[in-house]
Amino acid sequence: MHATISDVICDTVQNSIEAGARNIELALTEDGRMIRVEIKDDGKGMDEATLARVWDPFYTEPGKHAARRVGLGLPLLRQIAESTGGGVSLKSEKGRGTDLAYSFAADNVDTPPMGDIAGTVLTLFNYEGAFELVFRHARGGGEYEISRSELADAAGSLQDAQGLALASQFLRAQEESLPAA
């Protein structure tokens, strides 16, 4: 089970990238009461039969992992979210994409710490492949939005260390500029 909400975000956005999405939207909203994460992608999506099985920890998509027979990501996410008073919603259509949303009660003792959001977004932007990822973070009345393509353009590259260091500096500055929830 992941130690931070950032780690959960990293894992669940990777699912969108691995599903071949060309466009991914990631929104993180903290209103003081709830922490909400919404991920929308236009990846390959899932049919109803697959959708019914994703909550089974002993099911994983055939071919995704060579010798693995379990898929723990979504079942564990549901367990954490619901134990804090939040929840998970999953909508998907084969060939069209997937919408995943989950939430945690901000003040629940079982809610994991937020972790390093800037570092998480940096690693997601660094992931190889031709996809667009737009990240939006709203907290305490402030918000910012940044896309992978515009940050790559401004930093020069999201693969070489110099560009990544600039991108990291940018993301950390945006995070620090947000008011407390």
Binding site: H2, Q159, A161, L166, Q174
Partner: protein, 131 residues
């Protein structure tokens, strides 16, 4: 910290590139690949990734690509980092926290010596199936 804009970032990039152009920054011939599967993330691979990026940037190295991959089958030794450099064996390091990541940059990438104590190598090939 004052909010950084994308234009600020472009100016910083231009300034960095001018400084770098005085050095040999022709090709990116070294790859550092961080294992970022669920096992890696749970073990702290994002901190490792950040430490590598910062260490390489601080040293002004312009010939290094930082990439990521999924689980390399070494979940017991996460976070894992593979370094591929010319004229050196490709090596997978294990248990790479932020401090070890900086040592890898100092010793392997800059010093061109293998860092003892964290080498996992690659998973071995099955001699029966040859896979």
């Amino acid at each position: 910290m004052a909010k950084l804009t994308l234009d600020d970032l472009r100016k910083m990039r231009d300034k960095t590139q001018q400084a770098m152009s005085m050095r040999d920054s022709s090709k990116k011939d070294i790859q550092v690949i961080v294992g970022m599967g669920t096992c890696g993330i749970a073990a702290g691979a994002k901190d490792t990734f950040g430490a590598i990026v910062d260490a390489i940037a601080e040293k002004g190295l312009t010939n290094v690509l930082v990439r990521q991959t999924g689980c390399m089958g070494l979940c017991h030794s996460e976070p894992t980092v593979e370094v591929v450099a010319p004229d050196m064996p490709a090596v997978i390091y294990g248990n790479v926290d932020a401090a070890v990541a900086r040592e890898i940059v100092d010793t392997h990438i800059v010093g061109r010596k293998l860092l003892d104590g964290h080498i996992c190598d690659r998973p071995s090939i099955d001699i029966i199936t040859n896979k």
